[in-house]
Symmetry: C2
Subunit: 291 residues, 2 copies
């Protein structure tokens, strides 16, 4: 596996792949790989001639007071894992190369970014959209892979790619969960053993939503009440939001339907976790593998 | 010359050119060609294997009450002129294809867009940056050509291209002027014969600035006063702004130097015209040809 840090060198390399008619799959990550990342890499490896994994803890998507500095990093472990998965190129730029002095250009996806996490983390999706626009220009993939745990992010990126005519296919793969249901996340590393157990309340709230739907319930208020009750049964959890939204518009639904998305965010002490499920789909199976 | 209206078809075609290792030059225009446009096309024709001219009156860069509806259009004449210049592809999309239903993504270049025309036309450069980002993604040029009459626009696009890692060369070519000095502009077609004569006051104000510099004057206030006096001597002209700015930062200079940019905008009755000159350069020659 080759490691590239220069955006220009990465761009030249990607252009060479294109000229050789090799399909390029990009897996954008902030590193500290877990099985979720690996599921994306494996899918890219199965789909594409060349697999590029970008590893960049993007400062512009973190707000003041958020966890940019302490976000977990272990590039050597990530290199080993990526090599073992047959990744061709790891693109790991420095922040000073991605945002050089005088940098002033930002990409805004309106509407979709004004709800859910976007309403709680001002500027977060502007940072995400901007860095993804840059990564797509640098790596010129035919397909880019994202995890569905960041459901809103995936929708924002799909919108961005279509609106700005990137001509890239955005693949969004299922959430990979621990054996007890906790969605895999690099931020799970912040949790103490006790918090780790408490954190399963997000999964349990989503499981309650799926059960309600299976029982024939369709009133959003009922879902929100029962999900909140499950989450609040865990005293350490502080709910940031719980919503049932349209899968594309991300607006609250008047009636819960198959395909509606139940999404929530909660703090376990200082650690903010998110999770979601597509109502009526069997995607809460633990240990599920997307490929 | 081939005429393409579908963004997707244009993108596929551009990709084919790249795979054949043909260099592609893009000349983005709003049509209604004059010698300024043709100078860009000729330069692209001299530089590149394939020349693509885009023709799109971009609605998102016009403000409410501006001249989007009445902006001059004559696509048949533009086609004849482009064909005569050896253009390979004219890309002329419909607004509904460029901004499909649900469109919500915009590109902002901060700072550079907050002064000069940007301060007077809120949202204008957001529209420009967004459509240029789209055109660069659709056409994937190695070089894109812009006229220097829109000095601020050219700087915004250079910044955008660098910040978002487009890997494209932005070529900015000199202003082409009528025999009496008026900078060529599609909007000159709005002018009555009398207004047409009055409109030369912009050029005369810039000529005064160059003369002052040649005489050794360096105080910005003196330049602004004298340029305003020249423009105001034309009673039909209403000055929108006159400034002397740093060529890259676009901020007012404390001292006029070679390379500073004198820029102004003025209304001749209802028609808003802009012009500029690089101080100390001989770029006010009438009938000058850039190639």
């Amino acid at each position: 596996m080759e490691i590239v840090t220069s955006p220009r060198e990465m761009q030249t390399k990607a252009e060479e792949f294109r000229r050789k008619k090799l399909s390029l799959g990009l897996v954008p990550t902030m590193g500290y790989f877990h099985e979720g990342h690996l599921s994306l890499i494996r899918r890219a490896r199965a789909d594409c001639d060349v697999v590029v994994v970008s590893l960049f803890v993007n400062p512009t998507q973190f707000g003041a007071g958020e966890d940019f500095e302490r976000y977990p990093r272990d590039i050597e472990r990530d290199e080993r894992l990526a090599t073992a998965e047959g990744v061709d190129v790891m693109f790991a730029p420095e922040a000073t190369d991605m945002y050089a002095e005088g940098y002033t250009t930002y990409v805004d996806v309106e509407r979709l970014t004004e709800v859910l996490c976007g309403a709680r983390r001002p500027g977060h999706f502007r940072g995400v959209a901007t860095v993804v626009a840059k990564l797509l220009n640098i790596c010129r993939p035919e397909v880019a892979y994202f995890g569905r745990k960041d459901y809103q992010q995936a929708q924002v990126i799909k919108r961005l790619a279509a609106d700005l005519n990137y001509g890239v296919k955005i693949e969004v793969l299922p959430i990979v969960r621990e054996a007890d249901g906790l969605a895999m996340s690099s931020r799970n590393s912040y949790l103490s053993p006790e918090e780790r157990r408490q954190a399963t309340c997000l999964y349990r709230a989503l499981a309650r939503a799926q059960a309600l739907f299976a029982e024939g319930e369709r009133r959003p208020a009922k879902f929100l009440d029962e999900m909140a009750a499950v989450a609040k049964a865990e005293p350490a959890a502080e709910i940031d939001y719980i919503e049932i939204v349209h899968p594309l518009e991300l607006t609250p639904v008047p009636k819960v339907e198959a395909g509606s998305v139940a999404a929530l965010a909660a703090f376990i002490n200082k650690t903010r976790l998110i999770d979601n499920t597509i109502i009526g789909e069997e995607d809460l199976k633990v240990g599920a593998r997307p490929c």
